[in-house]
Amino acid sequence: MIPTSWYLFVAAALFCLGLYGVLARKNAIAILMGVELMLNAVNINLIVFWRYWGAKEVAGPAFVIIVLAAAAAEVAVGLALIISAYRRRHTIAADEIDALKG
């Protein structure tokens, strides 16, 4: 049997790695990849707690489906925005897209 704490620590570590990626990277696509890692960590947590409570409450898996759908939608729109910004300003460094003009 695998202890619950192992899963939860792995999920926490994944979340913090994603957080570092979001905060520290310049490339906008790299920031999106960090967000994906965080969402995956959240999914792992939800499933672990569903199993911890004996796999009776189905709220965990239902929520995971919603998170998965929201993550897919967010990546699609985010990448469309990044490519559109790239066409205008020819840069995707997050700290160079800082003017609302244009």
Partner: protein, 174 residues
């Protein structure tokens, strides 16, 4: 240390290693490929948790669609940023501190939780099979989760329309 524990340790090592490479890699295409490996590792973790449906859905949605989309975007914008030079912005040390602090906080919370010493029991095959019908019923029954389900579909519709509009060429002959 039984077989499943060994598999878990290997899988989580691969997942976390790939995640580290995602957030520190200089070349974006390498980072995208490491992301694919990390997502696959998470799918294996779902399978270890006996949520086989989610392992398969993770591969279909994340690896089969999202990761390919990310690779596309990386290829389309690969002349935007040179892959040499600093890939992190000026406040990266603060980001390290925040990440470490978050992990410390989460670890503290977990260690003070009552169920920290527990072990996840095995699900019987029948119980594991009941997940999909139960979840399907929960997502469409009025006293369960039909409202988040419908809101998620509206969100997907909005994302679809928004992405088409943003990515469209200007002056179209619609």
């Amino acid at each position: 240390m039984n077989f499943l524990q060994v598999v878990f340790i290997l899988t989580s090592a691969v997942t976390l290693g790939a995640a580290v490479m995602v957030v520190t890699s200089h070349r974006m295409i390498r980072a995208a490929l490491w992301l694919v490996l990390a997502l696959f590792g998470v799918a294996i973790l779902f399978a270890l948790l006996q949520a086989g449906f989610f392992a398969v859905v993770q591969v279909v949605v994340y690896i089969g669609a999202i990761a390919i989309l990310v690779i596309f975007a990386v290829m389309l914008t690969r002349h935007a940023m040179q892959d040499e030079g600093a890939q992190v912005n000026r406040g990266w040390w603060a980001a390290v501190l925040v990440a470490l602090g978050t992990f410390a906080g989460l670890a503290f919370l977990l260690l003070n939780w009552a169920g920290i010493g527990s072990s996840l029991g095995e699900l019987s095959a029948d119980e594991a099979r009941k997940l999909i019908p139960q979840m399907g019923q929960a997502l469409v029954s009025a006293d369960a989760y039909v409202l988040p389900f419908e809101v998620a579909s509206v969100l997907l519709l909005a994302a679809l329309i928004g992405a088409i509009y943003i990515a469209r060429e200007k002056n179209p002959q619609v």
